[in-house]
Amino acid sequence: MNHISRLTAVVLMLAASLAQAQSNTLGRNLAATCANCHGTNGQARGDSKPLAGVSAEKITAALADYKSGAQPAMIMHQIAKGYTDDQIKLIAAFFAAQPAKQ
């Protein structure tokens, strides 16, 4: 590996880790908008549905169904329509990575 390609590798690694950190932070911030009903980090209390530790596929699919109307709801069909598909992916990845129990 010559100097330039080594430098390129370092720069790419830095850029990738920076991008990862930024999307982690964005996912964390977006998921925090759900906490008022679903608990801090998705660790819900009472009758609310916990989201912590639920697989990203499951959360993404549920929100897509609320959005399309395939899954009727009291309120989630109205809320899901406020988020883009990219935002939903970040939210789902964040909750999937949280421990299910406090």
Partner: protein
């Protein structure tokens, strides 16, 4: 939970640190994990906004030195307080301790802030203490424009015409007035012109007081005197609730603005009418809380605080971030505890980035869910999602999203109580 979370954030910090080390191998390993504080943040006001900011600065920031100054000994929730007025809940049900925040590493001072000095970067307390800060958060809620209603500035009038628009002693006092009222009496509720804290709150209150009368004082009346041209939130749903459950009990009058009160006779004067009531509940017009005015933050309509929505920083005084009801609301953004909690998370994320010298997240989202009880069990809601619009530098609701309930329901009632439990726990780490 906290230890697991800080492991996650430490891992993230470690990842970033390793990348930095790859680029600059001579930099060394300083400040991985428990290092010195990244900054001092003083928070003025421990309502939904201030408490949530304190919690999330600790949760997300790691080593942020957070001091919360609040005059009350414990948190009392405005949401659900109308159920206390209706006799369906007790004060203990809506009171939450600050112990959870303290356990999360927040220093709490029970006291009164009298000044904020942005040059010295210091918050001053009534007892003479001075708290230095790198960033300060002001979450002052609302105070009342008593001069807008003739006679209300007199202390005797404020004792008689309770607002109960801040949960706490006034909630207890109004409940006592309702309990002492004779059957066949009149409870009048004066609603100010929008904007005010909690748009659907007055109509929920009318329902809750009516639900109490219906069961225990069936000859009594609820008279709603609304300064607005119509019900300001969930209109159709409230009209249906008034008709379905409280026919003959609730009388709603639009465009009835209270002009003055007379404590001696318990009378309120409208433009063309004098109203005498046994219990007269006056919610006065509102503005940003006093400390916002003292600190020179009020720069919108002489009432509210303009903020940069990416950081919640005041547009009047740099270094001071303002949350909740006190802000000049973005279009369609309600003044609610839920929204104050959401503002706090935007501010916490931005302040951590600012303290670390990192760029601030450019695409924040906030959302609101608001439940109103129309009976002890049946609930209606309104929800909205607000995305930041980079062109207009404000939050905007997403077309096609949000809306109100199809109908009042007990499913909604269970969701409302679950919401309360979760938002209290989220805001206060309880």
């Amino acid at each position: 939970m906290n230890s697991k979370l800080s492991n996650v954030s430490r891992r993230r910090v470690l990842g970033a640190g390793l990348a930095a080390m790859a680029a600059a191998p001579m930099m060394g390993c300083a400040n991985l994990g428990a290092g010195p504080s990244i900054g001092r943040v003083v928070i003025v006001g421990g309502g939904f906004g201030g408490a949530t900011a304190a919690r999330y600065l600790r949760l997300w920031g790691g080593n942020v030195d957070v001091t919360l100054v609040e005059r009350s000994a414990s948190f009392v929730s405005c949401p659900i307080s109308n159920l206390v007025l209706g006799g369906h809940k007790q004060m203990s049900d809506i009171t939450v301790s600050y112990a959870g925040l303290e356990a999360a590493g927040v220093k709490r001072i029970q006291g009164e802030v009298v000044a904020i000095d942005p040059q010295a970067k210091e918050v001053r307390l009534a007892d003479g203490r001075k708290l230095p800060y790198d960033r300060v958060i002001v979450s002052p809620g609302v105070d009342f424009m008593l001069d807008q209603i003739g006679g209300l500035a007199a202390p005797a009038a404020q004792e008689k015409f309770l607002h109960s628009w801040k949960a706490g002693p006034q909630t207890v006092a109004l409940r006592a007035q309702l309990e002492a009222m004779r059957d066949g009496g009149v409870y009048a509720l004066a609603i100010p012109k929008a904007p005010y804290r909690c748009p659907p709150g007055p109509y929920e209150r009318a329902c809750m007081v009516a639900s109490y009368f219906k069961q225990f004082k069936p000859k009594s009346k609820v008279l709603v005197l609304d300064a607005n041209p119509e019900i300001t939130s969930k209109k159709g749903l409230f009209e249906k609730a008034f008709a379905d459950h409280y026919k003959g009990i609730i009388e709603y009058r639009a465009n009835n603005e209270l002009k003055s009160v007379d404590a001696a006779t318990g009378t309120g004067k409208l433009e063309f009418d004098d109203i005498k009531a046994d219990v007269f509940n006056v919610v006065p017009p509102q503005r940003a809380g006093d400390i916002a005015r003292t600190a020179g933050l009020v720069n919108m309509n002489s009432r509210w605080v303009g903020v940069n929505w990416l950081t919640m920083e005041s547009t009047a005084v740099p270094g001071i971030h303002v949350l909740g009801d006190a802000t000049f609301s973005a279009p369609m953004m309600p003044k609610s505890g839920h929204m104050a909690n959401q503002h706090a998370k935007v501010a916490a994320a931005a302040i951590i980035e600012l303290l670390k010298g990192q760029p601030v997240s450019a695409a924040p989202v906030v959302m609101n869910t608001c439940f109103s009880f129309v009976t002890a069990r049946d609930v209606i809601h309104v929800a909205s999602v607000h995305q930041y619009d980079d062109k207009d530098k404000t939050f905007k609701t997403v077309p096609g999203s949000g809306g109100v309930s199809a109908a009042a329901s007990q499913v909604g009632g269970r969701a409302a109580l679950a919401w309360a439990a979760n938002i209290w726990a989220d805001s206060l780490a309880s």
